[in-house]
Each structure stands twice: as C-alpha cells, then as structure tokens.
C-alpha cells in the first residue's frame, strides 16, 4: 500500500529546514513518560539516528520493574536519557538540557534533575486536573509560574496526533498510542536528525500491520512538521560529527556486545557455544540475542531454574563446549554450589552476572556493583574463581573473549561482572575485524595410556580438558576432594592442603595485563581507582578536573581476581587513592586486605550511575583537604 505523503513530508524535509539553526557541541535529552508510552523505543530510535549522524553518544535507559505500573503515577515513569556531542562522550550526561515529559508524573519525577534554563517539552493535553492531582500537583505547573526558569513548550501532543490520524480507521485509543512518534518527529526536527532510518525501522516493525505503520509514520512526520511550521519552535540545532578513529561503527548496548563477544569467542576457539540460562532482569537480553544466532551452532537452553541453567552449562563444558550461564545477583546466589563444583572439577565455565540493586529482589531494573564480594567469596570452602569486569557498554565484547581465554586456558570458572547501566546503555562501537580478535584455540586431552586427569600443566597449573568420547582416558570426577594427579577420591590431610593451595595458586597465577595509570602531568598525588561500569563517569570527571587545572591520576581495574601484578606498586605510588563504587566499599575492602592501603571510599547505591559532578566534587575534597 502506498503511504500518503503529508504536506511538508519527506520530500520537503530533504530540502532542508528554513528556520535559524544554532550549533551546539553537546546535548543531553531525556524522554520520560508512562511505562506504556513507548519511551524506550523513542529513545532507541533517536539514538540510532544520532549514531548514524556521526555524533559520539552514551545512553541511560531507566524504567520501573513493573511492566505496566499504574498509569500516570510517579512509580510508573519510564525514561531514556541520551547524551550526544561533537566530541568524545563518556557518560549519559548529568543534567538533561531537554526534558520531554509525556505527562505530569514524568515532569514531576524528572524536574529535579534539570538545570535552570533547560528546555521542557510537555504534552499539555495530559495536564488535566485529574492527572495533576494523581501526582500531587495542586496547581498546574504549566500555568502557576513554577517553571519560570525553564524554557517550556506546552504542545498538545495527544490531540495533534489524534487529529493527524483522523483520516485513518483507528480508535482514539489506538491513535493516541502514536504520540511518542509525534514527539520523536519533533525532536528529530529540532536536532536535525535524519528521518530515513526510523521510517525504515517502522516499515519493518509494522510490515504486517499496515494501518499501525501508517499511523506511526503520519504521527512521526506530523511531529517533524510541527517543529518546522509552528512559531513555538523558533530555532533548531545541529551538533557536528564527533572526531572518532576511522572505521565502521554501530551503536551497541552492553548486553548485545556481550552476546556478540560470546559468539566470537566460540568461533575463535572452535568450541560450540552452550548457554544455559534462566530469565532474569537485566540479563535476559543476552539470552534473547544469542537465541537469534543458532546458525553459528549456538545452543541456548532456557532451563527450569538458575541451578539447572548453570548445571547444563557445566555439563556442556564437561563435554567440550564453551559453557556459559547468564544471570543477575539473585541467580548467582542460587548457582553458588554449582560454581563450587566447577572449581573442584577444574572445568572452563563463564558466569555472567549483570548486576542490579540488591539484596534479595532489590531493584531489578536499577544498576549497582554490589556483587563483587559474592563473586569472590560467595561459596563454601576455599573456592577461587577469576573475576573480570567490562568498563563500558562496547567493552562487553572484548571482556567476553577475555573470559573465554581465561576459562579455557586455566580450566576455571570466570565471573564477568557487568551491570544494568552498561548492559542496557549503548554507545558507538568501532567494529573490529575478525582477524584482529584473539586466537582462542583449545587442545583437548588425547587418547593415551595411564591417563592422569589431574596432572597439571606446570606453567598454567591447568589440568587436562578430557572430554567424553576420547578413547582410553575414561575417568571419574566429582565434587569430593581429588588426589593430586590421579583425581581419585582422597581424604588425606596433606593432599587436601596441597589441592586447596594449588587451586588458589592457579587462579592467582592467571596472566593478566598490568594496570595502566593515566597521569598526564605526572604530578598527581591523588589516584582515582575504579572498576567496572564507573569508567565513563570517572573518566568524564577526571577530564573536567584536569581542564580546571587539577592534577589527578586515574586507573581502572578490569581484572578483580587476580589483580594486575603491578597494582601494589601503583597503590604505593599515590599517597591518596579514591575508590568510587556503586556499593558500600567492596573493592576498597579487597584492596585494604591485600595491600594494607588505606584507600578512600566514595560510595553510592542509588540505582543510578555516578554523575560527573558528584565524582568531581568527591575528588576535589580529597585533593584540597
């Protein structure tokens, strides 16, 4: 069916915009609405269009755990923040420059994060007495002067959308559902984003629902035209391309990058990828993504529970596959015993913990870094495992390959500690060439006489990966303590002591790169040391501090167990070491224990990443005591 071109539609858009255009170097926009308003999709589309324009960017989706929380309430507000710029972007931005609020609840929930002078675009149709009172507004903030210090655009988003779709045979309710596309169209006009990719996206998404497609396209174009033709919006903005290394890019979230990294690890190792997983927020998207790629020989097994998920992965690993399980903190708690078995069996296993707020069910959709000690110690007995953490969304690709290297080389369980922030957040990723990826070739034990399943490689201390189907090396393993070399059951005191120390030595001896310190002046006395997803916010804060003339050093740990060999020296070199963490000081505890260094913790557990401003302030306090 041919789509009607509305007046001022695509063909006229191509001729360019006629209003004045201002250049900006960066913008932070937050889309906020009811959890059913499609804010995540709107944000995603704006992100994709922004990425394809060549800006650098970082995103922060933030949504409630409830799928459809009560309509119009603060509880049900879902938001998507995007920071994009003509230069390198490290964070999703502290304070939004623009807030799109689809109802009074979205305004109320987000207004406190805005700087004075910020732009607010609201759907004024939603500012009814009933909706206002639902969130405790006694008077209408659009009329009572309380928003005087902001640039407020009250747009009749709902009624304009409904009017634009009047010619279609849609119920009012269905027509209203397209209002997010109106908002997207308007913002697309405001920031000179290309429209093609979103139109193509809609055409694919609604290929089988022509009337819904038409409604969305019409609303999208009407929103664009609204910006272009009404006097409410007098200027539009452009943000030049960011200078990024040459190459091919795509925008990628941490969970997608993780899934790609795992597929790449399977390809580079020649192993079959086996994912055993039980759905859990915010890790499920890795399962979803991997399940789309069965033509790589990928097996995804949605197990009956977290224990079966890791059990099946360990069983597959025993059979010579790259066994992986994905989960979040509560799932790790259930998997503990099986991780202990993997430690005892000395088989490769990758455990991906996309951390969320805890304890217990905690904050399923919010981010936190409070599973570090659980990963390190959350098992019975001396049960060492490798622990690594990606620093930003696209780093999840590389970390997955690194986990596979460690797991298969040392026959050891490897924890990857991602978190909700980088799992759902996205950024541009320079696509690597497959040839540049590490060679992860693996050797299994071959048929032989007098096979010893626990005879170790003297360099790595790894035992052979001896898989069923190999003639002559039939043997039995299990969770009972093993005798050195033979792997037979042993209750000998000296043997147990030896084996416990050997398993610890094996993990301690994992080859990891030295920690790099960024200290441009070479005169810093304060080091800010982070791990995991705090990399972006810390880097942004350090950049700003240095721009302000402060001397400060930064280092970021990707390897939590074992630590880089030079970590002790680095800690000694700096009199003051600040450790920002989204927990109550778990890395700090490890550093103090291992290095007797009195590090300074800076902690927050608000379910949100640090802001640049918070980190700057905390660092300044230490620099200028």
């Amino acid at each position: 069916m041919p789509l009607p071109l509305v007046k001022g539609g695509q063909s006229e858009q191509d001729k360019g915009v006629t209003k004045p255009v201002l250049s900006l170097d960066q913008v932070t926009i937050r889309f906020a609405g009811d959890s059913g308003d499609g804010m995540q999709l709107t944000g995603d589309r704006f992100t994709m269009d922004t990425a394809s324009l060549g800006n650098d960017l970082s995103t922060l989706p933030n949504y409630p755990a409830e799928i459809r929380a009560p309509q119009g309430t603060i509880l049900g507000v879902s938001s998507f923040q995007l920071h994009f710029a003509d230069h390198h972007v490290q964070t999703p931005g502290d304070a939004p420059d623009v807030l799109v609020a689809m109802n009074p609840a979205a305004l109320k929930a987000n207004i406190k994060d805005l700087a004075r002078g910020a732009t607010i675009i609201v759907d004024k149709d939603e500012f009814t007495t009933r909706n206002l009172s639902k969130v405790g507004y006694e008077t209408n903030p659009l009329e009572d002067g309380s928003l005087e210090s902001y640039k407020v655009h009250g747009v009749a988003l709902t009624s304009l959308t409904v009017a634009a779709l009047a010619s279609l045979a849609l119920s009012r309710k269905d027509a209203e559902r397209s209002k997010n596309m109106f908002a997207l169209g308007l913002l697309t006009w405001m920031y000179h984003r290309p429209t093609e990719s979103t139109e193509n996206f809609l055409k694919t998404k609604f290929a089988k629902k022509p009337e819904i497609l038409e409604a969305n396209l019409l609303a999208y174009r009407t929103g664009w035209n609204y910006g272009e033709t009404t006097e409410d919006f007098s200027v539009s903005y452009e943000i030049a391309k960011a200078k990024m290394p040459a190459g091919k890019y795509k925008n990628i979230s941490g969970n997608s990058a993780m899934a790609y990294g795992l597929i790449a690890a399977a390809e580079r190792s020649g192993l079959k990828l086996f994912l055993g997983s039980y759905p859990i927020t915010p890790a499920s998207d890795i399962l979803h993504e991997l399940s789309k790629h069965k033509k790589f020989g990928v097996i995804t097994f949605q197990a009956e529970d977290e224990i079966a998920a890791i059990g099946s992965a360990l069983g597959a690993s025993y059979g010579g596959a790259l066994g992986i399980t994905t989960t979040s903190g509560p799932g790790v708690a259930l998997k503990s015993e099986m991780i202990g078995l993997a430690v005892m069996l000395e088989l490769p296993l990758i455990i991906i913990d996309v951390q969320r707020g805890g304890p217990s069910t905690g904050l399923p959709t919010k981010t936190e870094q409070a599973d570090l000690l659980q990963a390190m110690f959350g098992r019975n007995g001396e049960s060492p495992v490798a622990v690594i953490a990606p620093s930003h969304a696209s780093d999840c690709f590389a970390i997955a390959l690194e986990a596979a290297r460690i797991a298969t080389t040392y026959r050891v369980p490897v924890f990857i500690l991602s978190d909700g922030y980088i799992a759902n957040g996205s950024e541009p990723w320079k696509i690597p060439s497959v040839d540049s990826l590490p060679d992860l070739h693996v050797d299994f034990a071959q048929s032989q006489e007098d096979f010893l399943p626990y005879l170790r490689d003297p360099k790595t201390l790894a035992r052979p990966w001896a898989i069923p189907g190999t003639k002559g090396i039939e043997h039995r393993i299990g969770g009972l303590e093993k005798a050195d070399k033979t792997g037979e059951i042993s209750y000998e005191p000296a043997n147990h002591d030896f084996m416990v120390r050997t398993r610890a030595a094996k993990v301690a001896g994992i080859d990891v790169p030295d920690l790099e310190v960024e200290d441009p002046s070479g005169e810093a006395t304060v080091l800010v040391l982070g791990w995991g997803s705090t990399y972006g916010p810390i880097s942004a804060a350090m950049e700003s501090l240095r721009a302000n003339g402060e001397n400060v050093a930064q280092a970021h740990l990707r390897y939590l167990n074992p630590f880089p060999k030079n970590l002790g020296e680095v800690l000694k070199k700096y009199p003051k070491v600040i450790v920002p963490e989204m927990n109550l000081g778990q890395l700090a505890l490890l550093l103090r224990a291992q290095f007797l260094k009195d590090v300074i913790s800076f902690n927050q557990v608000r379910g949100l990443p640090f802001t640049t401003a918070e980190l700057m302030e905390a660092t300044m306090k230490v620099i200028h005591v």
Partner: protein, 333 residues
C-alpha cells in the same frame, strides 16, 4: 564401536566398592556392568552422572566416563551434556532423596523435555548417607532419627510423578532380580528420550527388609504383578481387570483369563499408565513391575540440534564478519 567385543570386566573400574555389606546397590552395579557390553557402545561414549547419596557413588565403579556431582543436580549436568553431545549415551544415577526431594524440579523438567537420559532411581525409602532420616518415599508414620514420633508427610509415588511429568518411558524393577532389571535396562536403552527406572533397593542398615514382600520367595509370586506388553497383567495369584474407568486387582480364581487387562505400554493416554501406578502405594501387597509406559516422542537433544541444523541448511552457517557488520552501521572517514 570397539573392535573386540567388551565384557563385564571391561566395564569394571579399579576402584574399591565402598557400599555397606548387603546393600542392594551391589547387585544393581553388577547387573549394569554385565549389561553394558550388550549395548555395543564404546566405553568412552558412555557417561554416568550422579548426584549425592549412597547410590551416587555408582559412577566411580564403572570404567566409563563419569561424574559424581552435587545433590539433586545430576539431571541438569546430564542435560547439558546430552544436548550438546548427542553422540554420547548418558545415564543418570540417583536416589529417592536426590531425585525426589532436593532435585525434584530437575527430574520433572528433564522428563517433560524428554532429554536423552536414562535415569536410574534407586529407591530405598530412606536417607542412607546421612544415616537414617525419612525420605520423600518413606511410608507415612515412619519412625526415624528425625521423626521419632513418626513421619507426617504423604510420600511420593515415583512412577506416578514421572507419568504426571509427561515422561515417555517409565518402568519399575527390583535390585535383586537381575534378569528383570536387565530386561528393563535393555528397553530403556532402546528408548528415544528420557527413561525413568525406579529400582526398589534394599538398605540393610537403615531400612532393612523394606521390600521383603516383593523379594521373598514365599510372597513375591503373589505380590509382583508382571507387566509385559501384549500380555495379561497378573501375578501368580492375582490379575488385573477393568473397574469402570479404573483398574482393580482381583484373585485369578474369581475371573476368567479373558477378563484380564492386556498390557499396552505404548498407550498414548497417560491415564492408563497412571492408573497402573496407583495400584501400589506404600503398602506393597500388589506391585506392578515392568514397563508402565513406553511411547514415542522426539528426544529434546534431537529437537535442539535439528533446529540448529535446519537454520544452517536454510541460511548457511553463520559468518562472524557479517554478524558484527550487520544492522545500522556508519563509516567514519
């Protein structure tokens, strides 16, 4: 396949067997060691995976691949192995506590998926390794260390449970009857998908004599209702007749041979096998033994691997470069 036919000795490992004297496990082990050569499968392609409990020591004593895992979780490890390695023959060794208490969830889900696992459930109706607490199959009122006034729980009937969990093969046999156990193992090995075999197993230390009624020469003839596909279900003294929608045990002298139920193990309707399973509960006066149910359904591993093969045959094998470079991309000069 080996070049030379294997023998029982080839399947016997060098490990000293450490069960209590008189334990029913010895007889099951010996029967298994004697049966395995018959499969014609090379030792390296057979894997025994067990959980925790007395019975779970089983894999140590077989010269195949084996894993003595953790309590209740053997079906999960075995599932991952069987799905990813369809070339292997995977047995699960478990007990009534391991399979029905701590591991109940995994047992039912493995059965409903029909993963290619042969599950041997050694049912001794007691916790042996922890020295004598009641188990989920102990009869109500059982006096044990943890229930000095008698247990209060209603027990599980493992066969009923398995049938309710959509199992495609369910059988029951007795540890000391090598011939019958071998027949059941043979049928289970030939079955595609999950097979659950409940084996009445005597624990001479903590629950001695629990199954005497089906083992003693004086009583077993009457107690054991033999189920053989295509034949009347009967013991030496009793037979099975239809009773409305249900089944009833009657004395053979009161009915004619033609009134007896002819066993149909391939009956798709699970209510038939379920009705058979209900004939015996805790009391063992009439116990059906043999194969309750043996129906054909694709194995789960087969389905998983077919799905992969199918997409590859339609779209070709995955290309990593194409995957990474797919979707919305842009060039930076």
């Amino acid at each position: 396949m080996s070049d030379v036919a294997l023998t029982k000795k080839d399947f016997t490992s060098d490990q000293e067997v450490r069960w209590c004297p008189g334990c029913g496990d010895y007889s099951i082990l010996s029967t298994m060691q004697a049966f395995l050569p018959e499969l014609g499968i090379a030792r390296e392609n057979i894997v025994f995976i067990s959980g925790i409990g007395c019975s779970s020591r089983f894999p140590y004593y077989l010269e195949t691949f084996g894993m003595h895992s953790i309590h209740g979780r053997a079906p999960t490890i075995a599932s991952g192995l069987a799905i990813s390695r369809p070339d292997l023959t995977v047995f699960v060794i478990t007990g009534d506590g391991d399979a029905l208490s701590i591991g109940g969830n995994h047992l039912i889900h493995s059965l409903r998926r029909n993963v290619e696992l042969k599950i041997l459930l050694f049912n001794n109706r007691i916790y042996g390794l922890t020295k004598g607490q009641y188990s989920p199959t102990s009869e109500q009122g059982k006096i044990t260390k943890s229930t000095p006034l008698g247990s209060l729980d209603t027990p599980f009937n493992p066969v009923s449970l398995a049938i309710g969990a959509e199992a495609t093969f369910v059988a029951r046999t007795v540890d000391s009857d090598r011939k019958h156990l071998t027949e059941v193992l043979r049928a289970a090995a030939a079955h595609k998908g999950s097979a659950l075999i409940e084996i009445f197993q005597n624990c001479p230390i903590f629950n001695d004599g629990a199954f005497d009624i089906v083992k003693d020469g004086d009583t077993k003839g009457a107690a054991l209702l033999q189920m053989v596909h295509g034949q009347a279900i009967k013991s030496e003294t009793h037979g099975l007749v239809h009773d409305g929608a249900s089944l009833k045990v009657v004395e053979l002298s009161t009915v004619s041979e033609s009134d007896l139920v002819i066993h149909d193990a391939h009956n798709e309707d699970p209510s038939y096998a379920f009705a058979l399973s209900r004939l015996s509960a805790s009391e063992l006066d009439h116990v059906p033994v043999g194969i309750f149910r043996d129906i054909s359904r694709p194995g789960y591993g087969e389905l998983v691997n077919n799905q992969v093969a199918e997409i590859i045959s339609k779209q070709g094998a995955g290309d990593l470069t194409a995957l990474l470079n797919g979707g919305d991309t842009w060039e930076v000069e």
